[in-house]
Amino acid sequence: MNPAGVQISAECLPEYTVERINPDGSEVHEKPPTASEAFCQLVSKIKFQQWDEDLEEFVSEVEPTIGSADEQLDDSNLSTGGGQQQAASLGPANAESASYWQNIRLSIAAALDETTALMDLLIALRQRPQALTLEPMQRDVEKYEQRIQLVVQGKKKCVQAAAEVLEKGRGSNQMLQQEVIGNFELQQIAQCWKLRRVANTISGDLSLRSAGSRYPDSGGFELRTAKDSSFEVLLPGHLYGQACVQVTLRTSSGESLFPQPAATELPRVSLCNSQRLLLAQELYNTICCECVQAGIRAGPDAVELPLAPGLCANVSLYKVVGPEIQQQEQSAGMSSKPSSQQQQQQAQRLPRPNYLSNALECLLLKRHQQARPEPGPFPSCAPAGLSERRREAGPFSRPVPEPETGLLDRLAAICRHSALYREVANLLEAWPLAEPRLVWHWQTGSSTSAHVAVEFVRRSYDLLRSRALISIGDRKAVLLTTCGQRVAARLGDVKRLLQPCLLREADRHLLLCVHSASTSLGWHLLANSSDPAASLLRSPDGQCSLLVQLDSNRKFVVSVNRGGNGDKWRRVQLDRLAGANALEKLDHVLAALTPLSNA
């Protein structure tokens, strides 16, 4: 049976009336009456009561002519003498010729009857049309009803046969569709997971062994055919759930360095989540093994790693397995009959993994990758594994691998780097000065190194900028200035050591702005000091000296000496001058003291 289509024969209305249907299904049609038969039937209905006399007269007139014609024919045959010969030549022998002529006579008589009847009809129509009635052919009612029933039964039988064909096609199509759906689901699962047939079952593998993992848990699951020909997954009890490993940094006072985003998703059961559960278990087991080797106490769900004085990393395993998920689904209102107790229980939700958790997973996956066999072969036609040359060269043919650092050490390095990163970011965001302001650009190299370029800019139109670079590693943050100064700070000392250096750099930038403004007006720089920040300027004509200082509050103190006399220094009250900031006011002072010839 072709499931794509079923041939159904369409029957038109029968041309002839069905007289009867044989047991083998063949039909016997009633032949329609010929024209003469129909005409005779019609004629039999005509009443010829008043015109019988005319008809008898007509017949009496016609019959003698027919008999005289026969007699003339016989006499002519006898009289001629050669008539016998003629008779013999005309037809067969006497007995046969009589029947022959009788047949001719009967057919002529039949034709005569028809013609006579037609003539009577015409006379009746012409002379007395009111007396002529034509009645329709009366069929036998009982026979007609039987024929109708036979026709209906016949049509029922045909439709029933077509219905059976359609039903068979529908059933096979349904089965095929279910099979296609099942195969499609199996194909979709096979695209993402490793499946293999074991006896009559299909088993799959959730483990990361193909990625190089050596965790002893096989992570196997089964596929079973459901009633509707689809596939359902059977997971082992310890993998029925969801889990994640969360790494948080806390100070000694319990404060978390990074804000934890609130989890909003309820745990769901799926193959991906089961694989993540297996990965989380392997990850936590690896961390615990290394903690035990390092002498750090490890709990069943959490491990505390000391990073620095006052800072520790907390590695926790969050797991929701088995009946707990069903309980949570019910408490979240997913069941049809929620109870009051279930509504009161708060659904335990897994926290969203943060940057440190993702970094830890990447470390584990990288370790799996390193456990892989050698890549290649190169070229592709070469045999797999080490080449003969390498094998024959001995153990020294391979490059010496780097000493493998444990997962715990790398995690500690990443955590320290994250804490340093956070401290430097807080330092830059809490810049206390309005002038100059800071602009910084981050550049992240890896999970344990980052750089930030800091620029001091002025709120004006000039392009004068001073730069500094802060390099953040896993142990310390180093500040480099353009004047060659280098300051390193460890965890907890970033603000104490780097901020004064940045402030000094800001002072230097301010003085640089003053130098730039004075130089553009022709002033000369006589002396410059960075600590305390001060600059001595001389006017172009040499008649005026200007001393610009920055006090402990980062405010400009400007003193003027006219006439070149070093003793009489007069302080300029910048508060009374117009300008948005001190540098603008200083620009006004320089402009006022500059002689006109140099302006």
Binding site: P375, F378, S380, C381, A382, A384, S387, R389
Partner: protein
């Protein structure tokens, strides 16, 4: 020791259309031991110019991505149909280094250079088997000879004593890839003009 020399190659070939290549690579990453390594090799084919041995060919293949690795000089025999399910042929491979010296050696043996081609794709390993999905280019051409499809080859090279096991492994891989690519025996004769 002769029994341990790999001298028999068992292989099956097929092709996969471009839209389905990623599905095939995903499936191979799951069933193979290695996650797949990209390769780009160039192969020079030399034909023997000595009368009587004109059908003999030697192939010199080297990696364009790893030029520091040795090249391989290969001899591939006529495909045999000892097993009706897979194709097998005699195959001998020798690592040679450096490349120029190998080329000179082959030419001094009386072989003439016939043609070059570049194979680029991904190679997977599954035990003794190698599964390659690649395209063939002419040197210097940007488009492959068949732009809409890639060639898939499952091959195993080993001594004759391991041929039966390799055949079973090849057939197992063929069955696992059946829904994506049809690996079968192909007639190696050149099409009639």
């Amino acid at each position: 020791q002769q029994q341990r020399v790999p001298n028999t190659e068992v292989y099956l070939q097929g092709s996969v259309l471009k839209p389905f290549t990623e599905f095939l690579l995903t499936r191979l990453r799951g069933i193979c031991d290695s996650p797949g390594d990209e390769f780009r090799d160039q192969e020079s084919v030399f034909t023997c110019a000595v009368p009587g041995l004109s059908g003999t060919r030697l192939r010199l293949r080297w990696s364009l991505l790893h030029p520091h690795l040795p090249a391989y000089l290969r001899y591939l025999g006529i495909p045999e149909s000892a097993d009706h399910r897979v194709m097998s042929r005699a195959a001998y491979e020798v690592p040679v280094f450096p490349l120029d010296a190998a080329r000179q050696l082959v030419e001094s043996m009386g072989f003439q250079h016939e043609f070059d081609f570049i194979a680029e794709g991904t190679v997977f390993r599954r035990g003794l088997l190698k599964i390659t999905v690649y395209r063939v280019y002419r040197p210097g051409a940007h488009a492959s000879l068949a732009p809409e499809s890639s060639l898939v080859e499952v091959s195993g090279l080993g001594p004759s004593s391991l041929t039966a096991g390799m055949v079973e492994s090849v057939l197992s891989v063929r069955d696992q890839l059946k829904s994506l690519v049809l690996l079968a025996k192909h007639d190696q004769k050149a099409p009639k003009a």
